[in-house]
Amino acid sequence: MPIEIPKDKWPGKIRTVTLGATSEQGGSRGKTVTLGGASTLPFMNFEAPMPHPPQIAFELRDRRPDDWSAVVLDVWGGAADDPAVWARAAEEQGADLLQLSLSLTNAQGNPTTPQMAVAATRKVLESSSLPLMVYGPGQAEADNELLVAVAEATKGERLALGICEDKNYRTIVAAALANDHLVVARAPMDVNLSKQLNILITDMGLPPDRILMDPTCGALGYGIEYGYSVMERLRLAALQGDSMTQNPMTVSVGFESWKTKEAKVGADVPSAWGEWTERGIQWETLTAVTLLEAGADLVILRHPESLRRVRLAIQDLASIAQAA
């Protein structure tokens, strides 16, 4: 007996947001990346096609990180010592785009200067053709100082600058506005604040198609269900037509996953936890795939093997029966 599968039709649609600019568009990227465009829940291909399947970025640092899991640092090897080498390696490993995180200080403990931030960004842009996101160290003053310099030095590249938060967004938004970039707007797992921040940023005149929402995620076992609910709620609101929630969502899965004890610690843990590398990769992969189901349009990862597995999952999910 043929079974009629019920189909939802939503009044709203996720905005498309394009990162990166090619030389014809005033930048230097080899390609652009477009996120969003969905008109139904993730991977419900029988209801509506997913015009832009989720994309995957690798997170890089401007210098070898002090606090990353050894599992991740080992796999990148010496590349992690130089953002130019790291960026090239990340592109070879199959990333769709790159996310460069600026450190608060250099290896000697001196504060990162705007010149250093610009130099690191330039290195990445020169050695890779992928669109780029640049995040400040996460302290308002340093973020503003470094990101303004980076924005000015890379005018027209359509970078995504982060992180805008409700306490600190004006300077970053102004820098994006003046230099043809995008912003990443992060709220702490709070649907009201996510929406409020989008309203505040668009009030400054930045077009909504230059905003990515970062709803903040939790890793598997560390609040993933809470983050999932927030993302799901935002996505449902967007599909129901709430224009200030219709931005594509990005989540820092690598950052959250690799700071869990399960992914970060290799010694003195129960043997039932299994082999360390595999465990860490599983942690990152499962967190990512779960959040893709909640509506993530972009997941930022750290381990190349996680990227391969998440990519496969996206391909499998996206190839399930298209709309008849």
């Binding site: 649907v191 009201n192 604040l193 409020q196 309203i199 505040l200 200030m244």
Partner: protein
């Protein structure tokens, strides 16, 4: 609408200072002002006053009863302080605000209400906090609050169920559920206990300039399901005008017709519709947006009024 005036509340810095200074005149003026503005009872929230409740509550009763005759509602968790205050009451039948369905409180507080012939506000909140769903809240009233009132022989007319208003800023999903809870509660028992809510809670944590609008729109929706009593700000003229329009069914203005439409749609368990509103009119558009957040149709944000109209 029976308004229990909310303005003597420790959250106000003026009240706090006046209490520290035992400024009787301040409280008398605030009491008179509220009663003149139409408050039919006065809620007195001085916090728990763990140390001096048994001295402060009776003092306050003396101060208030010197100038007004309306019932005093003791809004505190300090039952010893409340009891001391109740002993001092000479005028109208007082109100205890409140008991919850938590075992210990439900054991003690109704006995005090009975002993001093006070009315009792009972919250639909158990040990595990406030349930989201309307049915769960009604069940707490039916399974815990009403049976306990019967048990201590409190007249049903002295029981006031408060199904609990939560803020649209952060607890948005509770807002439509409360409307349903009030709709159901009135028919849950015969004779029906009174139902009251703390209206202003709906706009807690909302920027000050938007609070009155949210309060009065929620009031209109709640009146649609039959709310007749609430703790609210009697000095809010726009709120009182909304209540007047709804009670008098005053259709003489566009705004009046809109409020009545909102009330009537809610009464009929229908959703308000965009086509009922003149969205080109700024005031009506603001009301529509407010209805949308209160019914949890659109996610609340502090700047929700500035958002372009949803397509």
């Amino acid at each position: 609408m029976y308004i229990i005036g909310e303005n003597i509340h420790i959250i106000s810095p003026h009240v706090k200072t006046a209490l520290e200074e035992k400024d009787a005149r301040f409280f008398q003026e605030l009491a008179i002002k509220q009663v003149e503005a139409g408050a039919q009872a006065l809620d007195i929230n001085l916090g728990p006053r763990k140390k001096d409740g048994e001295e402060v509550f009776p003092w306050m009763v003396g101060v208030i009863e010197q100038v007004v005759d309306v019932p005093i509602s003791f809004d505190s968790t300090n039952i010893l302080g409340i009891e001391a205050g109740l002993k001092k009451i000479n005028k109208s039948q007082p109100i205890i605000n409140s008991t919850s369905a938590e075992e210990e409180r439900l054991e003690k507080v109704p006995l005090v209400a009975k002993k001093y012939n006070a009315r009792l506000i009972a919250l639909t909140m158990g040990k595990s906090g406030i349930p989201v769903g309307a049915d769960e809240r009604v069940n707490i009233a039916l399974e815990k609050l009403i049976p306990r009132a019967l048990e201590v022989d409190l007249p049903m007319s002295d029981l006031i169920i408060d199904p609990l208003v939560l803020t649209v800023s952060g607890c948005q999903e509770y807002c439509p559920e409360l409307i349903q809870a009030i709709r159901t509660l009135q028919f849950a028992w015969d004779p029906s206990p009174a139902i009251s809510v703390g209206l202003s809670n709906v706009s807690n944590a909302v920027p000050r300039e938007n609070r009155p609008l949210i309060n009065r729109i929620y009031c209109a929706l709640l009146m649609g399901v039959g709310l007749k009593m609430m703790i609210a700000d009697p000095l809010d003229e726009d709120l009182k005008e909304t209540i007047r329009i709804l009670e008098a069914r005053d259709e003489s203005t566009a705004l009046g017709r809109l409020y009545l439409n909102l009330r009537d749609r809610t009464a009929a368990a229908e959703e308000p519709r965009a086509e009922d509103f003149d969205l080109a009119d700024a005031q009506q558009a603001a009301i529509w947006k407010t209805v949308q957040i209160l019914l949890n149709k659109v996610i609340y944000a502090d700047s929700y009024l500035e958002q372009e109209m949803a397509s």
